[in-house]
Structure formats: structure tokens, C-alpha cells
């Protein structure tokens, strides 16, 4: 009896989290899977025909978009890390009394809607806008130069939009590091660079992992940035753009659901490979 109860306790503890997952993840995913296996048109209605053939069909047609989305998201993650790490480090170690004010500045953009911020960047970065227009007038830039609707511009937009998601977990991880460990490393003949890589950076890895996931996952599925800063250029479309079009414009629900299902499954696969590679035992410290 007692051993039975002891065996049950961990399961009971899993209930709230597990329940959340079932209601908000497993059930919607199952619905999406079922929708993807239907056939028909919006006007005549959709029937579940277990049409698994939709998967090879959409993958065959749109694999390039998956590759592009993934590479944009990887580039975004690396850029946010490169920009966010020095910011988080500086706030955590040299922020002093300004720490909270600086952190507020980091999240301040969230006070304005994502779409509006992205639209503003489109204006700022347009061919004859504030930045490039001025540079062109000054003769510093070729008149034909344009930035909007290039892959670089989309990656720039994504990096801007998800930077706080990188900075915050990094800040938390770096702030926790005992400064005496860095002193101890320099005491043991590590140069400042070695002390950084061997102690500070390794100890901040949980923040790096959390920040990467928090930027990679939303960027890979993002469609607003490519839509707005990409200025509707199909050459820079990401998977999200196609899914959105299929759901809302062509009302092709099965194909849209299949594309989305592949995206979620792919992200889950990548994330599990990534966390395994970085080593979750490292994260446990």
C-alpha cells in the first residue's frame, strides 16, 4: 500500500504540468494532424481520408523554405548571442545601481506592438529612408543600393525582434556567477580571456541554451518580419509566410496544417538534438 502510494506521488506531481501539455500542445497537435489528413475544398467541405500523401507533397514543394527558415533562425540566434552576450555581461557585472534601469531598457520595446515596431524598421530602412536615403544623399552609398527585402534585412529584423529573449536569460545566468571564481581563475594563471572562456562562459551556458531556444523557436516560425521587412518578396519568404497564406488566402487547410505539423516536429527534433549536444548534465551544474 505504502509503496504503491510512494510510486504514485511522482505521477501526481506531474499532473499539473502534464495536464497543461496535453491541453495546450498534444490536443492541438492531434487536431492539426487530423486536419492535414483531410481532402476537399473550402466550398465543398473537407473529409478525413487519411491522406498521408500530403506530407511528401508539401515537403517536396516547400523544402527550400524549411531550409531558409532554419538558416535565418540559426543566423538570428548567433547574432542575438553575439550582440546580447556583451550587453548581458555588462549589465550583470558593471551595471551597478543602473542594473534595473538597463534591464528595463532591454524590455522597453515590448511596450510597443511587434508589428508596429517591424513596420517602423521598414520605414527606417527603406531605400530612401532615414538611413540609406541620408547616406545616398551624402554620396556615401550607391543610388541603387537597397536593403529591404534582402535575406540580410529579414535576419536583421528577426535579430532586433528577439534580442531581449536572448539578453534576459543570459543576464540571469551571468549575474548568478560568483565573481570570486573569476578571481580564482586569474589567481591560477588564467589570463582574462582564459578566465572568461573557462569559467564565466561555461558557467553561463544554461543562459546561452535558454536564450538560443527562446530566439530560435519563435524566429523559425516567424512570418511578420519576412512579410514586412521582406516587403512581400517571395525570395525571402519563410515557412510561416506560406502557412499563413495557405490558411488565410487560399484556404487550403490540409496543406497548411501539414506544413505547420512538419515545422513543429522539425523544431522539436532540432531542439532535442541541440540540448543533448550542449549536454543537459552541464546545465545541471
Amino acid at each position: 500500500m505504502r509503496s504503491l502510494r510512494r510510486g504514485l506521488a511522482p505521477l501526481l506531481l506531474l499532473l499539473p504540468g502534464g495536464g497543461w501539455l496535453v491541453v495546450f500542445f498534444v490536443v492541438p497537435m492531434a487536431f492539426m494532424l487530423l486536419i492535414s489528413l483531410q481532402e476537399g475544398t473550402f466550398d465543398t467541405g473537407y473529409q478525413l481520408t487519411w491522406n498521408f500523401g500530403i506530407y511528401p507533397q508539401v515537403i517536396g514543394q516547400y523544402w527550400e523554405l524549411y531550409v531558409r527558415s532554419t538558416s535565418f533562425a540559426v543566423a538570428t540566434t548567433l547574432l542575438t548571442l553575439a550582440v546580447g552576450y556583451p550587453v548581458a555581461y555588462t549589465i550583470a557585472f558593471h551595471g551597478g545601481r543602473l542594473k534595473n534601469a538597463l534591464l528595463l531598457l532591454v524590455v522597453l520595446p515590448f511596450f510597443v506592438s511587434f508589428v508596429i515596431r517591424t513596420l517602423n524598421w521598414r520605414m527606417i530602412l527603406s531605400d530612401n529612408g532615414m538611413v540609406f536615403g541620408t547616406l545616398k544623399d551624402a554620396g556615401l552609398l550607391d543610388q541603387n543600393f537597397h536593403f529591404l527585402a534582402t535575406p540580410a534585412s529579414v535576419i536583421f529584423g528577426l535579430t532586433y525582434n528577439f534580442l531581449p529573449f536572448m539578453i534576459l536569460p543570459l543576464y540571469v545566468a551571468i549575474e548568478k556567477i560568483d565573481r570570486r571564481l573569476i578571481e580564482a581563475a586569474t589567481d591560477l594563471y588564467a589570463s582574462r580571456a582564459q578566465a572568461f572562456w573557462r569559467v564565466t562562459f561555461l558557467l553561463s551556458l544554461p543562459g546561452v541554451v535558454a536564450g538560443s531556444l527562446l530566439t530560435f523557436i519563435p524566429s523559425v516560425g516567424d512570418f511578420i518580419t519576412a512579410e514586412v521587412i521582406g516587403a512581400g518578396n517571395p525570395q525571402v519568404f519563410m515557412v510561416g509566410n506560406i502557412i499563413q497564406r495557405k490558411f488565410l488566402d487560399s484556404l487550403d487547410y490540409p496543406a497548411a496544417a501539414a506544413l505547420a505539423f512538419v515545422l513543429v516536429a522539425g523544431v522539436m527534433l532540432l531542439v532535442s538534438v541541440y540540448t543533448r549536444l550542449v549536454g543537459s548534465d552541464r546545465l545541471a551544474g
Binding site: D178, E183, A184, A190, R192
Partner: protein
């Protein structure tokens, strides 16, 4: 002689804004010495140590390691290692990698590192713990790993900042003995910071008693205890009985000092530097209590002992000894620790109000020159063979 000096601080000052943490401090630490810095909280011990380690810049003054001026060098360029107060072991590295950290930075080859790690863990009595993480060790074990991690580099000098501060009393005592053994074994100069006078006395060759960023007195534990030069040192290193008086006579070995109640006491002449008013002191265990028998008349002060009359104010039996509080005729209170050698126990202790005579050897008297007290700025050094 300069070649046997390992660390020299030459007029070192450290200011944090308005706070003067270390004030014009000069000291020489000799090669192979166990040197302690002892003092109350905030007197600048940690700051001094951090300047030697290179973690804190000096505001003024020069620091030498051996012959070399290291004042401006970063920690990784100094042949010094530190055992930090809370150990500062790398939580993400195993015991082996923690201990090997310094050697890896110095590019020692792997086989040599493995060999030395094993030997070092043996020295600190932690063999077989190589693959544990610091979080899987007890406080005492972490302490040993921290020591091994520093010692494996064979630094010229090892700096220790209250390394035993986090341990319980029993483990502390045991580690004090260990530390001393290891220091003797490796022969490295230890500079040890503590605010525990007993700990400093047990382990050190020499102690610098610090106060407000300065060295108040420097000497061997015995010198500091037997011959404190200031009231602060006398009080910091144990209980002391102090009496003010004026010098009334002098011969080759002793000066005579008349205290307030008229008694003339003798103190070693070399301790008095010519001033007319002095304070003399004596440690409680140096005093002998003899009951004065009514009507027997004053007993002559035999054998040249100092003698001072008073009455018992309080007696407390504490097992190995009995502690008396004695009031002198002019109202001073003196503490006496009487060994319970012959007496059978609490019942035989002298009763309150009993007239007694306190006697002690004149050479056990120490002298606090009044001038040093007022002007605490002059650090007093009592080196062996000093006048």
C-alpha cells in the same frame, strides 16, 4: 639577508574613496614563514592580502615578491596563490580539474599533471575524490581541495583568507594542525588572515596584530602574549591586568614603578623607554594568590617577587582552574587564574571578601608605554634581539 625575504610591503596604502583600509603599512615576510595577520573586523586584513594577490591595486606604496616589484602586475603574473574564504571552487569542474587548473594554464604535460594531482590529493588526505564535483563534498573536504588547488602550483607564497572560517570548531582545530603540517612539509611561505587569536597563536611563526589599517605590533606569538606593547594588543590576545604608575627607580635589569595605592612593583628595564609614567600589566595565570592570615603581620616580599594586596571579590570554579576577581586597595579589579593543583575543588576556593596577596615574577610584568597608547600611529616592532 634580503634574499630570505619573500614578500615585502613598502609603505603600502589602500584607500576606497574616503575609507583608508590600509594605512602606510610596511612589513617583511620571510621565506618559509607562517605569517599571520590578526585583527578585528574591518582592520584591513583582507585588503592587504588582496593587494599581495594582485586583486586590488595599491593607492600608494610598493609590493615586492622576492626581489621583484610586482605592484602593477595582474594576479596571473604573480607567483602567488590564494585560498579564498569560501573556497571559490569551480562548480562546473571535477575535483581533478579544479586541482589541475593552474598546471593546465601553465601548459604542464598531461601525464605530469595527473601524477601531481594524485600526489597533491594524497597530501591533503583526499585520495580517490578526483571525479567528484565540489557540490558533492563537505565543507572540510572543499577546504582541502581549495588548498590542493593552490599548493599544486608550488607558489612562492600562499595567501589564505580565513580559510577555516566556515568550519565548525572541531573541524577547525583539526584543520589548524593539518595546515601547519602541510606548511612544514611543503616549506612554502604562508600569509594567513584570521580574526581568531587562538588560531593565529597555534599556527604562526610570527603574527602582525592589525588595527585600523596599520600594524599595531609584530612578533612571535609568545612575544605578543608575554610582552604586548599596547593596550589593544594586550586585550586582543587574552585577558590582561593593567595598572598605571610612575617610574621611581631603576637598576640594570628592572625598573621600579609605584602604582596608585603606593605599592612598588618591578618590571623588566628593557621594556621601559625612559618615560616617567607607564602602564604595567600582567597576565592572569602569572599571578599567585596567597591568603593573608589575620594577625600574622605583613609577610616580607620573598625572593624579589612583585606583591600586591587586595581582597577576593568573586571566585568561580571552572574545573582546571579557579578564576578569582581581586580588588586592590585602590579599587582596581584584577583577574587571576589559579591552577587547581593542590586544592580539591570548589569548596576549597577562597571565600569572597578574604584578604589576599597576589605575587608574581617581575619578569612577567609587561609595560605599555603611555605615549604609544595615545599615538597609536607608530607601529611597534618587537623582533628577536630588539633592545
Amino acid at each position: 639577508m634580503p634574499s630570505s625575504i619573500d614578500v615585502r610591503l613598502d609603505r603600502v596604502t589602500k584607500r576606497f574613496h574616503e575609507v583608508v583600509a590600509v594605512d602606510d603599512l610596511s612589513v617583511d615576510v620571510e621565506q618559509g614563514e607562517f605569517f599571520s595577520m590578526l585583527g578585528p573586523s574591518g582592520c584591513g586584513k583582507t585588503t592587504t592580502l588582496r593587494m599581495i594577490g594582485g586583486f586590488e591595486e595599491t593607492t600608494a606604496g610598493t609590493i615586492y615578491l622576492g626581489e621583484a616589484d610586482v605592484t602593477g602586475l595582474p594576479p596571473f603574473k604573480r607567483d602567488v596563490n590564494t585560498v579564498f574564504q569560501n573556497y571559490a571552487l569551480f562548480p562546473h569542474l571535477s575535483v581533478r580539474e579544479n586541482v589541475a587548473f593552474g598546471l593546465r594554464r601553465k601548459k604542464v604535460d598531461n601525464a605530469e599533471i595527473d601524477r601531481r594531482v594524485v600526489a597533491m590529493l594524497e597530501l591533503v588526505e583526499m585520495p580517490g575524490y578526483e571525479s567528484r564535483k565540489p557540490s558533492q563534498l563537505s565543507g572540510g573536504q572543499q577546504q582541502r581541495v581549495a588548498l590542493a588547488r593552490a599548493l599544486i602550483n608550488h607558489p612562492k607564497v600562499l595567501l589564505l583568507d580565513e580559510p577555516l572560517g566556515a568550519l565548525d570548531l572541531k573541524l577547525r582545530k583539526q584543520m589548524q594542525i593539518e595546515l601547519k603540517r602541510i606548511q612544514t612539509e611543503v616549506g612554502i611561505t604562508f600569509i594567513y588572515v584570521t580574526h581568531d587569536q587562538e588560531e593565529a597563536m597555534t599556527m604562526s611563526d610570527r603574527i602582525a596584530v592589525m588595527r585600523a589599517g596599520r600594524i599595531e605590533q609584530l612578533g612571535s606569538p609568545e612575544e605578543l602574549y608575554e610582552r604586548p606593547r599596547t593596550e589593544f594588543v594586550a586585550g586582543f590576545l587574552g585577558v590582561s591586568n593593567l595598572l598605571g604608575g610612575s617610574v621611581v627607580g631603576r637598576d640594570d635589569s628592572f625598573v621600579s614603578v609605584r602604582i596608585a595605592d603606593g605599592t612598588v612593583l618591578r618590571a623588566p628595564a628593557e621594556l621601559v623607554n625612559g618615560s616617567a609614567t607607564v602602564r604595567i600589566g600582567v597576565r592572569p595565570e602569572k599571578l599567585r594568590v596567597t591568603p593573608i592570615v589575620e594577625g600574622a603581620g605583613p609577610t616580607p616580599a620573598d625572593g624579589g617577587l612583585n606583591a600586591l594586596d587586595g581582597t577576593i571579590l568573586d571566585a568561580s570554579y571552572i574545573g582546571v582552574s579557579t578564576q578569582y576577581l581581586v580588588k586592590t586597595r585602590d579599587g582596581h579589579r584584577l583577574t587571576v587564574y589559579a591552577q587547581n593543583l593542590e586544592t580539591g575543588g570548589a569548596a576549597e576556593a577562597l571565600a569572597d571578601g578574604h584578604p589576599v596577596r597576589l605575587t608574581w615574577q617581575p619578569q612577567h610584568t609587561f609595560v605599555i608605554s603611555v605615549t604609544t597608547l595615545d599615538d597609536g600611529r607608530t607601529p611597534v616592532q618587537t623582533e628577536e634581539g630588539a633592545p
